[in-house]
Symmetry: C2
Subunit: 428 residues, 2 copies
């Protein structure tokens, strides 16, 4: 936000798509990038590796160095040019990355360069990291992940909240990210609207899921809960969200975890990021039986996932609590406004935190459920489900995902703990 | 927001203060203003009439026409130049006025002209309207006011909410008004922070109020409730607020009511506007005995105020309900997403509205209480209290105001109705 080069401009430049040749000459023209390759591009290889829906990503490497170069063109990649989007989305992504890098440096890739005119973001190339979703489908365990992501969540959500920021600074950031309307519109429509109405964009395994889908689209209590969650997403400016924190936005090794692609970033309720993550872990949980074979029934991997979710939540609350206790320098509940160290006051502050975390848990479980539904019956599905080739097996998993999500949204009482949420998994 | 001339600019112009002569030649140079005076300024009289803290207001009139011309200089008027403020505040005010005028045309003055460079806003001169606060101090009743202001509140709050606006439009407005940080900082500090800590800016009738002030500044439960209300003000982007809707921001006759001066405008919780208004009416209620004389003990005026508050709340909920039932075209609870007209769905929607109004009531009562406290012991007091010359009489009123406000903030259970709130007035 402080870097003039990342300020969005009113008249969007129309960047030209790079190819191998033009990208090389671009690098040659940028001394700090050129230097990464020892000012010699003769052995540099360039491959387009993007598998996302919106942008192009180039892998640029020689024997000694590697960069990821992401270009946003003025349309959605998936649409082949039919769906127009402003290039400004890459500026929002860059500014969000910078903010998260500041707050959780170990868990966010390094940025080398951003060029508004070319709509180009140059980052470290993460290797040998893989997309976490793919690792989970393969049944790979990530022993450090819960610790990493709970730190990321606590630092980024606390650090961009009114607990940490002065109101003027936070309002300035809200003003900036509120302009990320194009991608927010996608979030709002694909997660909260289309799956719950009759929309041509929805797709699900038919006819196996028909009954469940029509039932949930006519379930008044459930629709009201989803409308409330959408309302909270639209109105509660609690923290700067990644806003697309699924397991495909996380790159991992056994020892490292990096959160990428925050192009949907906007201020919203803290539980949204946590919920989207948990929802995707739960989807993977329910698909594990489909990946079982005679050597591995994946039961232990399912246990691993449930533990992981508990550890993430517990880690988040512990780390958030530490930040709350010592770093409340912002506009809300400012430490120095509560200098009275009486037992009463300290107890009242602790109670306020407990209530706040309780509210985040309710939001998180709600957003987890909406994510599970939209990934099963909405427009954008996930590999965990789509890679199951056997139709019967796949629809079985989808049914379980939907049943669980519906039971979460229909739940009348607050979840007292993350365990109460996980206990909603129906026993067989 | 759509008018380029009202867009704020990065480099603030430093407007020169007008005097009679320069203002006349300015009008002469603006054909549409000049025409209002039949292109003849020879009989025009100009008087500076501003009594606010921040700006200058000129009354410009001849026998046939009258205008109010408000100029914001790059400092606070009250400070005599010591406290710098950007002139941009007048652009926020102008854009808020335009928005409220669109939504509640009868209750907002007409705008004739806005000049960014001169930091000048030209509006209709309201006559014979007087500031409502002054009327109430005199014991004047306004039989139409509850109807007027409840329409204003319902139309403006609903009309700038996600119930009415598409998310992209609303986010654009949030982006714009989030930049009104200077005046928001005043709101945040004067209402929610200073009165509850040891601050040199506070002032109260000493020593009469000392005990109560120190008690509330050390009341853990009360401070926590105020911190929660501040947090909601900082994070809940529900609607575009006037954000300073006290009885000094309303001009009235027996048949007309006009809301002026929305320079503090920002998105926030709907209950904030309603609460500030109710808080100021309650302050006036508690000061009425000090204005009693042998001809009028003001008891009937006190009854009038309590009725007025009930009528405002009831009118607001009725009008908001009508809008909710028929005008939900925005991003939240959109009518067309709930086309199912089953009893279940209609009941669920009604329940959601009831819950929403219940939440607004809790916010409104909380903000009413913080307003009553800050106007009694904070930096900016009100005439209702300050005009009471007898120290003992004044401190008696202030004590009652504080006691009532504290009882509201300490109340553990939700208020089920506005009547439950009013019943907290201690019987004598």
């Amino acid at each position: 936000m402080t870097d003039a080069t990342t300020q969005p401009v009113a008249n969007q430049p129309i960047a030209k798509a790079f190819n191998e040749e033009t990208l090389k000459s671009y690098i040659a023209g940028q001394p700090h990038l050129h230097k990464i390759f020892n000012n010699d591009l003769s052995r540099v290889q360039i491959t387009e590796i993007g598998d996302g829906n919106l942008n192009f990503v180039f892998f640029v490497t020689d024997q000694n160095a590697a960069l990821a170069m992401k270009q946003a063109l003025p349309y959605s990649r998936m649409s082949g040019g039919a769906r127009l989007l402003t290039c400004e989305r890459l500026a929002f992504e860059t500014n969000a990355l910078k903010e998260f890098k500041r707050l959780a440096p170990q868990y966010v890739p390094s940025i080398h360069h951003f060029d508004t005119k070319q709509s180009l973001l140059v980052m470290e190339f993460l290797t040998p990291h893989i997309i976490m979703r793919k690792g989970m489908i393969e049944g790979i365990k990530y022993p450090k992940f819960a610790d990493h992501i709970s730190t990321y969540l606590a630092n980024c959500l606390f650090g961009t909240s009114d607990f940490s920021l002065e109101p003027s600074k936070k309002r300035e950031m809200v003003a900036y990210f509120s302009r990320n309307v194009e991608l927010c519109e996608i979030t709002e429509r694909l997660i909260f609207t289309e799956p719950f109405i009759n929309s041509d964009n929805n797709r699900w395994t038919r006819p196996a899921l028909d009954e469940q889908v029509f039932a949930l689209q006519n379930n008044a209590a459930l629709k009201m809960r989803v409308a409330e969650l959408k309302y909270r997403f639209l109105t509660r400016s609690e923290a700067l969200l990644h806003a697309d924190l699924h397991s495909g936005s996380i790159m991992v090794t056994e020892t490292e975890s990096k959160v990428i692609d925050p192009e949907f970033a906007v201020f919203g309720p803290m539980g949204f990021d946590i919920g989207i993550l948990i929802g995707n872990l739960m989807i993977n949980y329910f698909t594990q039986p489909a990946y079982a074979n005679k050597n591995n029934n994946r039961a232990s991997y399912q246990d691993y996932i449930l533990n992981l979710i508990e550890e993430i939540w517990d880690g988040f609350t512990k780390k958030f609590t530490l930040l709350w206790q010592s770093q409340r320098h912002g506009g809300a509940y400012k430490n120095s406004d509560f200098s009275d160290s009486s037992t009463d006051m300290q107890q009242a502050l602790n109670d306020a935190l407990t209530q706040y975390l309780h509210n985040i848990l309710q939001d998180s479980t709600g957003y987890a459920a909406t994510e599970m539904i939209r990934r099963s019956i909405g427009r954008a599905h996930v590999l965990d489900i789509d890679m199951i080739e056997n139709d019967a097996l796949r629809s079985e998993c989808e049914k379980e995902i939907l049943s669980f999500a519906v039971s979460i949204l229909e739940n009348k009482q607050d979840f007292k703990s993350i365990r109460c949420f996980l206990e909603k998994i129906s026993k067989k």
